[in-house]
Amino acid sequence: MDGLSVLDDAWRVAGRSFASRLVVGTGKYKDLPTTAAAIEASGAEMVTVAVRRVNLSDPKAPMLQDYVSPNRYTYLPNTAGCFTADEAVRTLRLAREAGGWNLVKLEVLGPAPTLYPDMAGTFEAAAALIKDGFEVMVYCSDDPIAAKRLEEMGCVAIMPLGAPIGSGLGVQNPLMIRMIIENAKVPVLVDAGVGTATDAAFAMELGCDAVLVNSAIAHADDPVLMARAMKAGVEAGRLAFRAGRMKRTEQANPSSPTNGLIR
């Protein structure tokens, strides 16, 4: 690696250190081998997982853990599909028992078609989970006041949406994402809405600590190639943020010296 290695630029959450600033979901893939290959290509060290009933009619079916090892990747159990605080808390208590991990991703969603974060339910669930000893990374609206309140409650990371879940529209409200980042003392991850590598790079250029991507990789024509593209996008965006971009000017400015021209 060169002198700009991302390896010397780890981010930390809940006492753990991660070199990769790309967090990936494990849902929506056509099969488990593709899931495993795409996650490998993404370079991610943290993956989100869902908690669901075991299929009693096929208890020996291959399990996610057989393909995406919890010994290699930090599992981040989520509450996807939960529409009330009670469901979310119950789901994560089961996740903690299944895996033994306190670090979780809370999301309480409002109804379709927006699936926008239900912030009243999110606050209620976050309070219950923190009281119960969980380390809560929290999916939330792109609202700087709500984000700050979640941080003050004790959430270990704030995860505002870039755009509606699964929409692939990219960061729709960069001003608010930037305000959340500038006000936060805990890591901020853009979660939901990334559609392609430029969206991930853009989110990182805003200064967020990491990006969470699922659909954009899983629903690409070639998920493994897109996983690699997301890795590159996140790294490029992070390096650009660290480098500090040039000032924008609304006039041309020649790149070559203007003296010494032949006449």
């Binding site: 979901g25 494990t26 849902g27 929506k28 893939y29 488990l32 899931t35 989100t48 997982v49 869902a50 908690v51 669901r52 009933r53 075991v54 009693l56 208890p59 020996k60 399990m63 996610l64 853990q65 599992y75 159990p77 989520n78 996807a80 119950r90 208590r93 089961l94 996740a95 903690r96 028992e97 299944a98 895996g99 879940i165 699964g166 969470l212 699922n214 659909s215």
Partner: protein, 80 residues
């Protein structure tokens, strides 16, 4: 929790349980560990909730099941 008045010498009974939303019958007496075995589950990869209370994995062999119990048995799957 009431006192368990079942005589010690009863060898079998039929237990009606609701597991993951399905009504199922099992030969009792049965513990959570016995149920997992009967269902062919690898207990290292699941979590069990009995009547909305988490059952710690270390206690599966000691927790008896009673007719009418409602269980949820979950595991990790792909998700975003």
């Amino acid at each position: 929790m009431g006192t368990d008045n079942r005589p010690m010498n009863v060898v079998t009974e039929t237990l009606s349980l609701t597991v993951n939303g399905e009504a199922r019958k099992f030969a009792g007496p049965l513990t959570v560990a016995g149920l997992a075995q009967a269902l062919g589950l690898d207990t290292r990869k699941v979590a069990v909730e009995l009547n909305r209370e988490i059952v710690p994995r270390s206690t599966y062999a000691q927790v008896p099941l009673r007719g009418g119990d409602i269980l949820e048995i979950v595991h990790f799957i792909g998700g975003g």
